[in-house]
């Protein structure tokens, strides 16, 4: 005589096997329409026709990483049904903020550290060292100006003090304080706004007491060339620059902790953020999920080394992460 319990157990087993098979078939079709379960990869962005009534103008600052980020957000928003306009390559952080406040753009990706130092005038000794703390402080600062700072990216890309391997070997440089006493013989090249930034020349002067022989402002796009050409002894570059790996530059360690965290956070005008609501917030979080240190470096490499356009690379990111078809 069959034990009804065994039958039930068998049924249960068969049933769950069947469900598992069906479930994985759906996954194999690319997760169209599925919501994120734990363990399941990011699914494609949902197009919502109601978003078409909102136009978002996405801006960016004037270097590769910024343009890639701007394109990523713009294309993601477009996939979600928003109307998009782009105004990338605006200029430095002050220019971008001005454009945002004037309403010329609706959003752009800023860095938590940059915001704290350049916009909110936080003093060097009061800078938060934790990524989360830096983000919260930046968010509060932006909120006071009717700007919403969305959840930050996993990656952080700091200003870095870079020298060629040759210089580092010759002068025995590993940390920024190793430049003490030697700075008087060295020329520093940086972007025009570097002079007045606490996370650039100003900070190097105040925190490390470095007095360089000469500071020359140079276009941000040439920050690596001036090192390889031998014009500059020291240059300011970004952590995620792919040229660092190619040229074998040495990044001097920030032993006095001068640089704050620099996670990227999308800063948007409150009105537009409200129109987007929780759905937009989730969308940004979804997009940010894949932007790790390695990922951002890879994306920058595709533009700076492979010479693809930021638009192409942003599309590749969204597709390879399964966010877009």
């Amino acid at each position: 005589m069959r034990n009804p319990r065994w039958v039930a157990l068998m049924m249960l087993l068969l049933g769950s096997l069947a469900l598992a098979a069906c479930g994985s078939d759906d996954d194999e079709e690319g997760g169209g329409g599925g919501s994120a379960d734990s363990g399941e990869p990011s699914s494609a962005i949902q197009r919502n026709e109601e978003n078409a009534s909102t136009t978002i103008t996405v801006g960016s600052k004037n270097f590769t990483e910024q343009m890639v980020l701007g394109e990523i957000y713009a294309q993601a928003f477009e996939a979600a049904g928003y109307k998009i306009e782009k105004q990338l390559n605006l200029g430095d952080e002050k220019t971008a903020l001005r454009a945002l406040e004037a309403g010329d753009i609706d959003a752009y990706p800023e860095y938590t550290g940059t915001a704290l130092l350049s916009f909110f005038g936080v003093e060097a000794d009061k800078l938060p060292k934790e990524e989360d703390q830096a983000y919260q402080q930046a968010r509060e600062g932006f909120a006071e100006q009717q700007l919403t700072a969305f959840e930050p990216t996993p990656f952080t890309s700091s200003n870095e003090v870079a020298v060629t391997k040759q210089t580092a070997d010759q002068r025995n440089l590993q940390r920024i304080s190793d430049l003490e006493g030697q700075a008087g013989e060295l020329t520093l090249f940086g972007s025009p706004e570097c002079r007045q930034r606490l996370d650039c020349l100003l900070g190097l002067q105040q925190v490390y007491g470095l007095d360089f022989k000469k500071f020359t402002p140079v276009d941000i796009a040439l920050r690596h060339e001036v090192l390889t050409e031998g014009q500059a002894d020291v240059s300011i570059v970004f952590t995620t620059d792919p040229q660092i790996q190619r040229e074998g530059f040495v990044l001097l360690e920030d032993d006095k902790g001068m640089f704050p965290p620099y996670n990227s956070t999308l800063v948007m005008r409150d009105e537009i953020a409200e129109q987007g609501g929780a759905e937009l917030e989730q969308l940004v979080a979804q997009v940010n999920e894949g932007l790790t240190d390695e990922a951002m470096q890879e994306l920058n490499a595709r533009v700076d080394l492979d010479k693809k356009t930021p638009e192409q690379v942003a599309g590749e990111y969204l597709r390879e992460e399964g966010l877009m078809g």
């Binding site: 002050k94 220019t95 025009p192 276009d219 001036v226 014009q231």
Partner: protein, 253 residues
């Protein structure tokens, strides 16, 4: 009407930029004022003068020699045509990409830009000298070098200065985009408009225009000064096969 007032306003702001210092729109640093503009102009002039000096040192002797011996005419005349076809931005970019940034490299690029008009005009200037005059000098026992120095050069000077004038204006104009190669000239407010602001950019445009005009006018004056009085340039050989020589105004490019 409103656009006219707006435009006038912008020019007013630009003039103001030239004379008074102010906070940079990017914050933190001061821009504008006569001192800063003078510094930019100094760099601009230094770059231009060095380039012109080197270009003249190369092309005047070369052009004189080619003209005197009659060799290399094809090269000398077509140098200008080829040079004209290469855009200055492309030339600068080529040097930045292949040779590198910096003052010396930029001077090299500008010299390449400046040589063709001077070379062509020096060559043409010597060829224009009346053959009879040259023969007479040779008959007097002058050596080749003496003929060049004492006969051909003075008579070719107006054309040579015409070429120098053309090159100088070109070089001054091209030095405006020198910031692309890392040398901070008057073009910096135009290329890095964020640091200087829109009024800074317009101010720089005004100063560059005035500088170019001043270069042209002063070198035109020099050209007039070196033209011997009463010298009329006769074309030789005549352009059309007619019995009478034709008087023509000399086109310098």
């Amino acid at each position: 009407m409103n656009t006219t007032m707006a435009a006038l306003g912008q020019f007013g702001d630009a003039i103001d930029f030239i004379f008074s210092e102010r906070e940079s729109p990017a914050g933190g640093t001061r821009v504008g004022g006569l001192a800063e503009l003078w510094e930019l102009m100094r760099e601009h002039l230094e770059l231009s003068l060095v380039s012109m000096a080197v270009a003249c040192a190369i092309s005047v002797p070369l052009g004189l020699w080619l003209g005197h011996t009659g060799k290399g005419g094809f090269l000398a005349i077509n140098a200008s045509n080829v040079g004209r076809a290469v855009p200055s931005l492309a030339l600068i970019a080529f040097f930045v990409a292949y040779v590198g940034v910096g003052f010396t490299n930029l001077v090299l690029a500008l010299v390449l830009l400046a040589v063709p008009p001077i070379l062509t005009n020096a060559y043409t200037g010597v060829r224009q000298v009346d053959r009879d005059t040259v023969d007479a000098a040779r008959g007097m026992g002058m050596t080749g070098a003496q003929i060049v120095r004492r006969v051909e050069l003075p008579l070719a000077l107006p054309l040579i200065f015409g070429g120098i004038r053309i090159s100088a204006v070109n070089v001054v104009a091209t030095a405006t985009i020198a910031p692309l190669a890392g040398i901070v000239t008057l073009g910096d407010p135009i290329i890095n408009v964020n640091t200087y602001g829109d009024e800074g950019r317009l101010a720089a445009a005004i100063v560059v225009a005035l500088l170019a005009v001043a270069t042209e006018v002063s070198l035109a004056g020099v050209q007039r000064a070196v033209t011997p009085r009463g010298l009329k340039l006769e074309a030789s050989p005549p352009r059309r096969r007619l019995a009478f020589p034709i008087k023509r105004r000399e086109a310098t490019t």
